[in-house]
Amino acid sequence: MGRFHRHADGTGHDEEHEPELRSVGDHSGYPETGRSRVAVLESILSENDRVADANRRLFAAAGLRAVNLMSSPGAGKTALLRRTIVELGSDVRVGILEGDIETSLDADRLEGLGAAVSLVNTGDGFGGECHLDATMVSSGLDRLPLDDLDLLLVENVGNLVCPAEFDVGEHAKAMVYAITEGEEKPLKYPVMFRAAEVVLVNKVDLLPHLDFNLNLFLSNLSDVNPGATIIRVSARTGEGVADWCDWLRSLRNRPPDPADQ
């Protein structure tokens, strides 16, 4: 078979080419059409990653650490952020980059707590983007006083799939999971649960009222991401928020440019 049917890794898939080969004769017809294969072997997301690296350099220059906070819709990201800003107090200067498909409702809830808030509505994307990518985050950074911040919390669009794929230049990915979502979520959404360095198990104040099996959830989480840091929290009562804030403060010990890690 002609060399045009080989992937760079040596695998082939000749049949898939048949329909178009009919129009150009047999395999030897390829060179006559001037057709050639360019091997790339790089991440599909390399364009996004290039912008993410630029964001990271901005963060490093400003001396701040950034966390990409993800969850399904309604898991309690915004409520938890309100608690977080208050708990961190005046010794950590916080900026929030808020991603939402439409409306400023979540951004409004975060106003007046002492954090700088920048809203990125993703509704202008193709059909309303379901995640923040590096370029969208970059566009929202102009409205934040980066040099005056210690910590940037990126509140991603509520979605358990797409946000996990896109590096936005963060130093760490964290996710909020609510126990009302059921024990099997890590197995259904392994991409997200594997991407998160920290999993905040939210709404633990509801444990006495639910049939939720916490140990089963923790076992499922461990199956897909054995190294995850787990913090039990309640955005309603404030339980565990101090532990989460301690973890956020510990990010100061990481080099501002993750490439130096």
Binding site: E16, A39, E165
Partner: protein, 114 residues
């Protein structure tokens, strides 16, 4: 939605690398852990490329299985659930060998637009 975002990313990467040459085919390698549905990806690809300079550009998708190697018994297991465990000795101390690929493998161009 997931597949649409990914197609957009594939398009951007191809456009950045192809230097304006007509692209006839794009081949990607996608691991099991990426949770991509090939049919949805093809559908999104047709939708996004239609009417663009990549219309009629074919998308080849190679699905890469998730394989782990056991650090205890050295056996390899191809996973059919996203549970990182060795099927031979049931150890959880395993290393992921493949399954997270998200790669643009290659694209085919015609040298000269006629």
């Amino acid at each position: 939605m997931h597949e649409l975002s990914l197609c957009q990313a594939i398009l951007e990467t191809v456009e950045a690398r192809s230097g304006g040459r007509p692209v006839r085919r794009v081949d990607v390698r996608i691991g099991y852990f990426r949770q991509v549905v090939p049919d949805s990806l093809r559908f999104a690809w047709e939708m996004l490329t239609e009417g663009s300079n990549l219309s009629d550009c074919e998308l080849g998708i190679e699905s890469v299985p998730a394989v782990v190697r056991c650090r205890t018994c050295a056996a390899t297991t191809t996973l059919d659930l996203p549970v990182l465990a060795c099927a031979t000795c049931e150890s959880l101390d395993v290393e992921l060998v493949s399954g997270e690929e998200f790669q643009l493998a290659s694209f085919d161009v015609t040298a000269d637009a006629v």
